[in-house]
């Protein structure tokens, strides 16, 4: 819309289309556009370029909250990775493990997905590639027991970081969400402040259901951060704007590929720029 000379209804409709097709959602889109509508009506925003910058600023302000990892004196630093099926939890854990290892942190993984076919095998292949140990039990064993063991073992062996994989689960499945709550309770028996970090992994291709996922997971186990994956596709991942706006839980990392190096800390500025591309 840079070709336009003035702000008119056509331009606003074009912006609405850009936002909605980026999965920002109707409600959040209206909220963002309404927030600048006042300036438009009062003519303090006169041209399309100013409007675009005002919108970018609105979104940036929503997203730009402290997204550093939770600080603690505890060892190990326990991270739990959760989310619905297929979003990229296991792969993201492998990427984070490499990242921590390169920072000189003694890292261990816990094979907490004891349910899905070959889930433990999958995590073990990654652990081998990154050269970090995995605490695991046989398939079908109790996920909470595996994670409890892992914390115990990491405490004994002075590990710096423990990243726990969990089985994918739809937020609407009450018994599976209860299992996740149990994992957190059991972890606290071994380390009262664990898990220090609970990351919800969201797929950038998701639509508005991502909000429902975030709300439910946050309500049930408490989230400290989000990981947005598959940004190497054509989806914009705009659903996180409404999520961050509502929960004030920051996006900590983004995944942009299937390779071990395809993860980096979330940068609100870059995200907003990409949205308007």
């Amino acid at each position: 819309f840079l070709g336009r000379k003035e702000i008119d209804d056509d331009l606003l409709e074009e912006l609405e289309e850009l936002f909605i097709t980026s999965d920002i959602g109707v409600e959040t889109t209206m909220k963002i556009i309404d927030s600048v509508r006042d300036q438009v009506d009062r003519k303090t925003l006169k041209n399309p370029e100013d409007l675009k910058n005002a919108l970018k600023e609105q979104i940036f302000n929503i997203l730009n909250i402290d997204n550093s990892l939770v600080q603690t004196a505890d060892r190990p630093y326990v991270m739990m990775v959760v989310g619905v099926n297929g979003t990229g939890k296991t792969t993201s854990i492998a990427k984070m493990a490499k990242m921590f290892k390169e920072q000189g942190l003694k890292t261990c993984l816990a094979a907490g997905d004891t349910f899905r076919a070959a889930a433990i095998d999958q995590l073990c292949v990654w652990a081998d590639r990154v050269d970090v140990p995995v605490v695991k039990q046989s398939a079908g064993s109790d996920s909470a027991a595996v994670i409890f063991d892992a914390i115990q073992s990491c405490k004994a062996k002075n590990f710096d970081v423990l990243i726990c994989d969990t089985a994918g689960r739809l937020q609407t499945k009450v018994n599976l969400m209860k299992e996740l709550e149990k994992i957190v309770r059991v972890a606290k028996k071994e380390l009262p402040d664990a898990p220090h970090e609970v990351l919800l992994v969201l797929d950038a291709t998701s639509g508005q259901n991502a909000l429902s996922q975030a709300l439910k997971f946050h309500e049930d186990v408490g989230l400290t951060g989000l990981v947005l994956t598959k940004l190497d596709g054509t989806a914009k991942g705009g659903a996180i704007i409404g999520i961050v706006d509502e929960l004030r839980v920051p996006v900590k990392f983004i995944g942009f590929g299937e390779g071990i190096d395809d993860l980096k800390p979330f940068d609100a500025q870059n995200f907003v720029e990409a949205l308007f591309d």
Partner: protein, 295 residues
């Protein structure tokens, strides 16, 4: 629900004998909102609202009905029609008169291809077919193990080649093996890939050329958002899909992607995944999907 909202809109209008521009403008806005909230693509919604408007204008309200009932029926019926009301291809696999029937799975990473391949094998085995699952994903860690585990659960033969770095050759060899062992159906699981990954999309096309599938099933996640049109269009243009599977329908995603995908590809929505178990697989029902999308 949308029904309640529309009820409210029409209640404000006095006894209407006919649907006209005045009384349906507000109602159309509500339907548009409902569809966008359900993740139906922006442009698909625009076209849909246009069709509904055209069908609703001048529609007579019979004495036995209220304007909102007439309106919602037009919306619902239009949605059902697009979703496949006239297709009758739901829940069916096109079997080749010359076995084996070859089925190829395709779709984005994590959409549910491997799980759906197992479910499809289970379904066909119940129909007394001799099925061969093919572990065509040579990239994802433990992908072969995953399919082999499902195969064991189903008591279904799985063809794999752990040494091969050539997915196309694996498919071709699997087909030769299937013919030799008199299989009725071959289901080829493929690696998840992006529609914009030229190399991997070309691999899929070469696989298709090597085994000439009777069915190419595009597997999509029910929670997919606006990008569903771009992905589906790309996959369909490269491969000419023959059917669509919508997974994770056991969640609460409204599933608007179904409408977007159907609209942009024209291909039949055949099955839905309703859970992680091998039995959680059903035929797609247009009218149930329509109600779910409208909310």
């Amino acid at each position: 629900t949308l029904n309640d909202k529309l009820n409210g809109v029409f209640k404000k209008l006095k006894k209407q004998v006919r649907l006209d521009e005045n009384n349906i403008t507000e109602a159309l806005k509500m339907v548009r909102m409902a569809l966008l909230e359900a993740d139906v693509n922006y442009k698909v919604v625009k076209n849909f609202i246009g069709s509904v408007q055209a069908k609703a204008m001048g529609e007579e309200v019979l004495k036995s009905l209220t304007p909102d009932q007439v309106f919602i029926k037009i919306v619902h019926d239009e949605l059902v029609e697009i979703l496949g009301g006239k297709d009758y291809d739901e829940g069916k696999i096109r079997l080749n008169s010359q076995p084996p029937t070859v089925i190829m799975m395709a779709g984005l990473q994590g959409s549910g291809k491997t799980t759906s391949a197992g479910k499809l094998a289970g379904l066909l085995m119940k129909q007394k077919r001799n099925v061969l699952l093919v572990a065509g994903d040579i990239y994802r860690p433990a992908a072969i193990d995953q399919l082999e585990t499902l195969g064991k659960q189903l008591n279904c033969d799985v063809y794999s080649d752990r040494q091969s770095r050539d997915a196309v050759k694996i498919a071709a060899d699997a087909l030769a093996y299937a013919k030799k062992t008199a299989k009725d159906v071959v289901i080829i699981d493929t690696a998840g890939r992006l529609h914009i990954d030229e190399e991997l999309m070309a691999e899929l096309v070469r696989t298709k050329e090597a085994v000439t599938p009777d069915e190419i099933l595009f597997v999509a996640d029910a929670m997919t958002g606006q990008d569903a049109v771009n992905v589906a269009k790309s996959f369909n243009e490269s491969l000419e899909a023959t059917g669509i599977i919508l997974t994770k329908m056991d969640g609460d995603a409204r599933g608007g992607a179904a409408l977007s995908i159907k609209e942009v590809t024209g291909k039949p929505l055949k099955f839905i995944g309703t859970g992680e178990k091998m039995t959680e697989f059903e035929a797609f029902y247009p009218d149930r999907m329509a109600s779910r999308i409208l909310g």
